[in-house]
Every structure is written in C-alpha cells, then in structure tokens.
C-alpha cells in the first residue's frame, strides 16, 4: 500500500509556479505579436495564421531553452533548485505550445491540399540531398513527437512503472529534441531573416544551453574523478549535523545520503522511491527522513517507509576511517537494515586558562 495516484499533486508552490509560467507565455506571445514585429523582422507577416504560428514556434523554442537551462543551473548553483522541482508542468506546457505552432502551420499551409494534410506536409518538400532548401519540417515533426512523448510520460505512474533508469533514458530524448529544434530553426526561419536580431537571440539561447550543460558535466566529472575507489569519501566526522545528511556522489553517478541520527551514521539512496526526490535534503525526525518534494518518509536505518506504506530504497554500508566518513558504493537491496555506525566520542578539550585569567 502507498499513496493512491491522483491526476496532479497540487500544492501552493505549484499553483504559483504554473501561474507565473502561464503569465510568462501570455506575455511572450503579446510582446512577439504586438510589440516587436519590426525588431524580430515579422512586421509584414503574410496573415494572422502565419503570424501566430511564428509566435507560438518562437515561444516553444524559448520555453525549451529555459527548461534545458534549469537542470544544469541547479546542479551548478543550488539557488536554482526551486525552478527544478516543478519543471514537468513547464515541459507539458511547452508540448502544448509546440503543438499549437504545428496546428497553425498544418491548418494554413496544407488546409487547401487535395490530399490528407499530413501527407501533404510529408510530401511537399523531399529535397533531402541538399542543405539549402532542406525539408526542415521533418526536424520540427521529430522534435514535436519527442516533446509529446516526454509530456505524456511525465505522470508519477510512468516513473514507477518504467523504473527510473528506463524513464531517464527515455527522457534523454529532450537533447535530441533540442538539437532537432535548432536544426528546424536554422534551416527554416533563419533562412528568411531580413535583420539579425532573431538570429542573435536564437544563437544566444542555444549557446546558453550548450555552455551550461558542458559546465555542469565537467563539474560532475571533476567531482567523481576523485572518488574512484572501493569506498567513497563522504565528509569529515565534524561536518555532520544531528538530524541532517551529507550527500555523497559515487563514481557510478549514484547519490547516497548519509545521516547523523542520535550520534550514529546511516546511509540510504538519495533518490526517493516516489519520484527520485532528493532525500538527503530532508531532516530526520524520529528515525524518519521526509522527502522535501512530496513528503514520503523512510527509516534511515532500513530504507523502509513506515507501515502501512511499502516504499523502500537501497541502504549502504558506512565506515569511519580516521576522521573521514566513507560509504561503500555497492547498494544493499531496498529495505535492508544496516546497523548505524556510532561517531567516535569527541576528545576532551585540553584545559585552557580562562580568557583574561592571569597566572
């Protein structure tokens, strides 16, 4: 038994996040359509459908760019973490905006085709052997399919059903989608620019995504390179605070949360069984750590949720070597009890004369 699935687990933060996001989309569309036509060189859009298609297409690109910047930014600087926690609503909204863009295109350029609209779209340009005039629509179609798959599999159920590794691999489609969007723009609208503002904005957005991701990847590589032994170092004994965890990153990429509870150390996976929330950011109360994302709880000694819940996460062995707390990278099966390791008694402070005292 666990928490029953519901369509959306709303909370005040999500309402605020979604309200800001929707206001941002509305603002972008308004600015694009009515404020900056001459700046973005669409002051002479042929008709409202094409104008709207461009607005929604540009909006989808900007949203996708922001989504892709949030992840590495949060890894490089924890102040961006609040943006990460509700990113999937952002993703679903992006898929709808991209779908609207495709709808405008399909229902204008192919509305009067004697054939099926989709057949018309796929057969209108088949010059695949050349760069100039390449049928850039295929990149847009591919990106849209990727975005729809990511949006359609964003519910909690999919993460549990597919398992996090498969779900994560599936969601790596976001990188293929972004490349595809870049190709769609480069070989499409960029070919028809009369001024360079849009080109520059597009390159800045794509450049930000590239720079942030490469920086986050290099940062992670530096972190893990130093931890390539059997036992991984976590932190010094003195760095632990009662009731809180230190998070260690293993050479294989897994994260482990090591808690200090009642003077003893216990280690469990940092990924919550519910939605991979960061358990190491939760506080321990009565042996139970609470996931900061959705409130799932686990006994840090066994990785088990309290009855009647049945969630389990893997546990890890801990040891203290000298002044360093270490964790073994081989995970125990989820729910395996591990005896907590007591911290060494602090050495008594040598007697020092009181400040101001004289011999």
């Amino acid at each position: 038994m666990s928490v029953k699935y519901i369509p959306v687990q709303w909370n005040p933060n999500k309402w605020i996040y979604d309200a800001v996001m929707l206001a941002g989309v509305a603002l972008f569309l308004w600015v694009f359509l009515y404020v900056t036509p001459e700046v973005l060189s669409h002051e002479r859009a042929i008709n409202p459908q094409i104008h709207n298609a461009r607005a929604f297409g540009a909006c989808a690109f900007v949203m996708l760019t922001v989504i892709l910047c949030i992840g590495p930014a949060a890894r490089l600087d924890k102040r961006f973490l609040p943006l990460l926690y509700n990113r999937r609503h952002f993703g679903v909204m992006t898929a709808f905006v991209a779908l609207t863009h495709a709808g405008y295109i399909l229902n204008w350029y192919f509305a009067f085709s004697s054939r099926d609209k989709l057949v018309g779209l796929l057969s209108a340009n088949t010059s695949f052997g050349q760069v100039a005039g390449f049928p850039f629509e295929v990149f847009g179609i591919f990106a849209l399919i990727c975005l729809l798959i990511l949006a359609a599999t964003s519910h909690d159920f999919w993460l549990k059903f597919l398992t996090p590794p498969i779900w994560k691999r599936l969601h790596y489609l976001i990188y293929a989608a972004y490349f595809s969007v870049a190709a769609h723009v480069s070989l499409g609208i960029l070919q028809d620019q009369k001024n360079h503002v849009f080109t520059v904005l597009f390159m800045l957005g794509a450049g930000a995504v590239i720079v942030l991701h490469i920086a986050a990847w290099l940062s992670e590589r530096r972190e893990t390179a130093a931890k390539d032994g059997a036992w991984a170092e976590v932190a010094n004994v003195g760095d632990f605070r009662e009731g809180y965890a230190k998070i260690a990153k293993l050479a294989n990429g897994e994260r482990v949360a090591v808690y200090l509870m009642e003077g003893k150390l216990s280690a469990i996976s940092n990924a919550c069984a519910h939605q991979n929330g960061p358990l190491g950011e939760g506080k321990v109360i009565d042996c139970l750590v609470t996931c900061p994302w959705h409130g799932f709880q686990y006994d840090v000694r066994s990785g088990r949720s309290p009855a009647p819940f049945t969630e389990k996460v893997p546990t890890y062995r801990v040891r203290i070597k000298g002044d360093m707390v270490e964790v073994h990278p081989d995970a125990n099966p989820p729910g395996t009890y591990v005896e907590p390791v007591p911290l060494p008694e602090p050495e008594p402070e040598p007697d020092t004369p009181e400040e101001g005292a004289t011999a």
Binding site: I6, S123, H155, F179, S186, L190, A206
Partner: protein, 123 residues
Amino acid sequence: MDVATALVMAMQTWGIVGALVAAVFLTIGIDRIDEDVRGAYIFRPLLIPGVLLIWPLVLWRWWQIETERAAWADRYRPVRASYGLAVVLMSLGIIAVVIAGLSVRQSWPADIAPVQLSEGAGQ
C-alpha cells in the same frame, strides 16, 4: 502508394494498436502490476496519450513485471554516465547545423532596383 502516404498509414496503425493496448492495459493490466493504482480511476485517462505513443515499451514492461524478470538492482542503476555523451552530441550537432544553416543563407535582395520583366497589359 508513395512514401508520405505509407508513413501516415504507419502512424495511424501505430495509434490504433496503441488504443487497443491502452484499453486492455488501463482496465486490466495496470491493476495487476501496481497496487497503488487499485481504486484510483480519475488519473487513468491521463495515461492514454503515453500508451498510444510508447505502447511497445508498455507491453515489454508489463511482461517484465508479470514474469518478475527485472532484477531489483536495475531500478537503482544510475544512467548519469550517458549524460556527458548526450550533451556533447547535442552541442556538436547544434553548432554544426547552425553553421550549415547560416552558410547557405541567401541575402535578401533589398538593394536591387525593381526591373520590369514584361510589358504591362495596359500598354
């Protein structure tokens, strides 16, 4: 039949099979493989688009769970090792396609004076 018509037919067939899989999975299968689903019905329509799109994966996972073939540790195997490869490929691809796109861009002939190619009908 041309390629475009065949592709659209393939998409339609994919969707029809997906709809059948969704009908069976969301009414029978899902209750068998996840106890959290039992008694929860309102969220199920949200899963229909996902099943339509990735039904082969749904069938494979359903079979895996029913037959208990997946090792417990698989669930906890991190995939971050692929992150670097994905990011580098994406970055190189974007740089290449932007350069290719800009290199074939034709300049707008705004500075060319208009030339009348044929006599007007009224002349």
